[in-house]
Subunit: 291 residues, 2 copies
């Protein structure tokens, strides 16, 4: 009755009821659900026909017909892909974008209706982030991003907020942007961002300090994504990128209060070394040889 699995299945029912209602309302716009799904997927940036097919799980014949229908309606235009003329790229026309905007507005309304009627919506959103991230853990992507990308800035801001909180000191997030931004992009470094269905949930950066020597910085995982092994994934990814930048040794500093981080470094091939900088908040220093 009140066992864990029932509790969790209840979530699926609740969301499905809600989303089912949305699907039905999608029909109100007069287009069958199949075409509506295709139109929305294109609107969300899935433009390659093959990718669309996989994403929507459709047969190639059906896909083709649905696209043909949307073309006849004037919602979509397709053209061969420049690099491979067998593949086709679908794009929304202006009318298509307008239709897509209508669907988006419907979805937003339904989300807003729930959020607006609940007072502690930050708690609700945190719960939503957690569940969406756990469910989507197999679809987390780690991408290279510019330090001035707003999604990176969101993570860096959260990172500074958090260490300010932990150390009871105010770390200036340099509202004008990360002062080290320049050294955190190629060829002197790189910034990696973890995305779960578009939401930034973690980051890590590396910065070249000397010939062959790099320092790992800005390691952060969103609260909703902790416990999924994302930190380890990020570290693996940054090591790979560091090697590509020609780095052979990595260093990093951290603080004893960050126990999860300490544990990760100690079990992931890092060796504790002597203090190598004068960062007053750093207590532990690590090094790892790559390759």
């Amino acid at each position: 009755m009140i066992d864990d699995i029932s509790r969790f299945r209840r979530l699926a029912r609740a969301v499905t009821t809600q989303t089912g209602a949305l699907d039905t309302s999608f029909l109100g716009l007069g287009r069958p659900l199949g075409s509506a799904r295709v139109l929305n997927a294109i609107g969300h940036g899935k433009e390659d026909v093959g990718e669309l097919r996989v994403y929507l799980g459709l047969d190639s014949g059906l896909m083709s017909r649905l696209l043909r229908g949307l073309e006849a309606e004037g919602m979509v235009e397709t053209a061969p892909a420049p690099k491979d003329a067998r593949r086709r790229i679908a794009k929304l026309t202006e009318a298509g974008q307008a239709a897509f905007a209508q669907y988006e507005a419907l979805s937003d309304q339904s989300a807003e209706a729930v959020l607006g009627r609940y007072k502690q919506s930050e708690a609700l959103l945190a719960a939503a982030d957690l569940i969406a991230t756990v469910l989507g853990r197999d679809r987390i992507e780690i991408i290279e991003a510019d330090p001035e990308d707003p999604r990176v800035e969101h993570c860096v801001q959260a990172y500074y907020d958090e260490i300010s909180e932990i150390f009871g000191v105010f770390f200036d997030p340099q509202v004008s942007g990360d002062p080290e931004a320049g050294s955190l992009r190629a060829p002197n470094g790189t910034f990696l961002l973890a995305l779960s269905d578009g939401l930034p949930i973690g980051c890590v950066a590396v910065k070249r300090q000397a010939e062959g020597l790099g320092e790992v910085k800005r390691m952060w995982v969103a609260p909703a994504a902790r416990g999924l092994g994302l930190a380890k994934q990020l570290m693996n990814a940054i090591e790979t990128h560091a090697q590509r930048l020609g780095l052979t040794t990595l260093q990093l500093d951290t603080n004893g209060k960050l126990t999860a981080a300490l544990h990760l470094y100690r079990t992931d091939g890092w060796v504790e070394i002597e203090r190598y900088n004068d960062n007053p908040y750093a207590e532990h220093f690590f090094e790892k040889q790559l390759g």
Copy 2:
């Protein structure tokens, strides 16, 4: 990009992807989704054909045909309702129950797969409860239940755990059951239980103290259901039931630490009165005239 509505919509996508996968796996059992839905709804206790139709949102013709199909398969038997021979009641046969059990096993497996791969599953479950309850707020039902119903006991246990926590004292939940159980059922009182899609999320009881005088007890709302106005709904419901029991005045005691409760009573027609018992944890005493 990271606005509240996108964050919330992301949840719907994540759960739909997950549940969509389940729907597809339902097809693996060789029955079209429509019949599978009907079979599952019957298995979950929706036996009245009319209720089934509303619940699944189907046309009466389609409903009838799907039932006929399941009957032909030997999964379902229908019979006229005893009280109204126009209505029909559908029941699973033994074969039907076996098929239903297969679907349940599939659903459990998929929930278990997610839960099992996440360490802090209590956090995940709490988040799931919160979201499911908020989404299902319009479908919360308040029912009369026996004080020894396991769902009531679950709430009472949680109630005692919580006040033990708040007052730093151990309140004995009387493992053998609520000692006042007898006085919390008709004709001397009643116990109300709030259910959200089957999950108990709150309770309240009333107990006759004298001719026309009742006392409200065991008022509790689950953490996941706070902020939805459920306490007020429960109070309204218990007042109605108290009137039916012939009570004209209600009393209750509470503690200053329970600020939300205090605020509710003060704004819901209750008048603060003198201490009327020797409960050492009670600091405030209220009374309300009914009718």
